[in-house]
């Protein structure tokens, strides 16, 4: 499988708008859209984030891939929730279509439930943009 996506400037700007409206304005620290090879497609933050995004993307893609393989081994197609909880910051993974992964880093001031709702809305809007 090779990745079919080639993004236009307009698409990238529209994706950024969606992620800003749905997630950054919600109060998340950082949101990164990557492909499953670990490439960073869009990277937004709240202006106070200093993460090494490229390393994070590589690890996230590999992590997600490994977890998906584990799901298959136990007979699941995939896990509906992949989320790592930290003491102050957490990271949420969400697959968009078959080839993209949305990472959201958020603090205690954002509830996981509400985040998942907004991530789903962002996913739907991004999928529509890529049709």
């Amino acid at each position: 499988m090779d990745f079919p996506f080639e993004f236009s400037k307009k698409q990238l700007e529209s994706i950024e708008d969606v992620l800003n409206e749905e997630l950054i304005e919600l109060g998340v620290q950082s949101v990164v859209l990557i492909d499953l090879a670990g490439n960073v497609i869009v990277n937004l933050d709240n202006g106070r984030c200093q993460h090494d995004v490229y390393s994070l993307a590589a690890l996230a893609a590999a992590n997600f891939g490994a977890v998906s393989a584990m799901a298959n081994i136990i007979g699941e197609e995939e896990f509906s929730l992949l989320f790592h909880k930290g003491e102050s910051d957490s990271i949420h993974f969400s697959k968009i279509g078959t080839d993209l992964l949305l990472l959201t880093i958020f603090g205690k001031d954002v509830s996981l439930g509400f985040l998942r709702l907004k991530v789903n809305e962002a996913n739907d809007r991004i999928r529509d943009l890529l049709l």
């Binding site: 090779d2 990745f3 400037k9 492909d35 090879a37 490439n39 590589a58 590999a62 490994a66």
Partner: protein, 206 residues
């Protein structure tokens, strides 16, 4: 597949160092990490076992400057070489644009080299990629062992085992001493960037 970002005018290219376990893949990246510090903005990521063998992968992002108005970011990865980690190797190979095959020159490792190369070909095929067409450089590593009295394979034998059909460029090397590590790296970068130049030219007119 190389990711071209027309908004940032940036290209991300994935190069994987592949080969049998303990062959020198991680050592190559460690040398690059030390020698080219000025081009590397972050620490090398390594996921290792307790006895220092790569468990998941090593990752090193590397900026090579601009080509045709695009900033080229090379993402170097290594894979775990041990036979049991094939599922992980497949994950890491996803979206690969160029490969360095690090073969172990020790005579004892002759069969492992061949099996590892066959494994690479199979894994690439599962992504509809062909080992004969993907940018590929062979590195015959650990040539320094000869001076320590450890039997190593002649280059002609390694070429016959691994490169008869592929006819990829090859370099003898000693990654632990840095010998030909940079040359290998530069060659694979050059070949990989050449392979995507058409896309860059099309993108450049946007």
């Amino acid at each position: 597949m190389a990711l071209i970002n027309p908004k940032k005018r940036e290209v991300q290219v994935k190069i994987v160092y592949y080969g049998p376990g303990r062959g020198g893949k991680t050592t190559n990246l460690e040398y690059i990490n030390e020698k080219f510090r000025s081009r590397i903005k972050s620490e090398m990521v390594t996921v290792k076992t307790y006895n220092d063998r790569t468990l998941f992968f090593d990752f090193l992002p590397f900026d090579i400057g601009m080509i045709k108005g695009y900033t080229i970011k090379v993402q170097f990865y290594t894979v775990p070489g041990q036979v049991k980690y094939n599922a992980t190797r497949k994950l890491v190979l996803r979206g690969v644009d160029g490969i360095v095959f690090v073969a172990d020159s020790m005579t004892l490792r002759q069969e492992m080299n061949i099996r590892s190369l066959e494994n690479l070909a199979e894994n690439l095929l599962s992504f509809n990629k062909n080992i004969e067409t993907i940018p590929l450089v062979m590195q015959y590593n650990k040539r320094d062992l000869k001076t320590e009295g450890i039997p190593i394979l002649p280059v002609e034998v390694m070429e016959k085992d691994l490169n008869t059909g592929l006819k990829a460029p090859y370099y003898t090397a000693s990654a632990v001493n840095g010998e030909n590590v940079a040359v290998t790296m530069k060659r694979i970068i050059s070949m990989t960037v050449m392979s995507i130049r058409e896309k860059l030219e099309l993108g450049g007119s946007e």
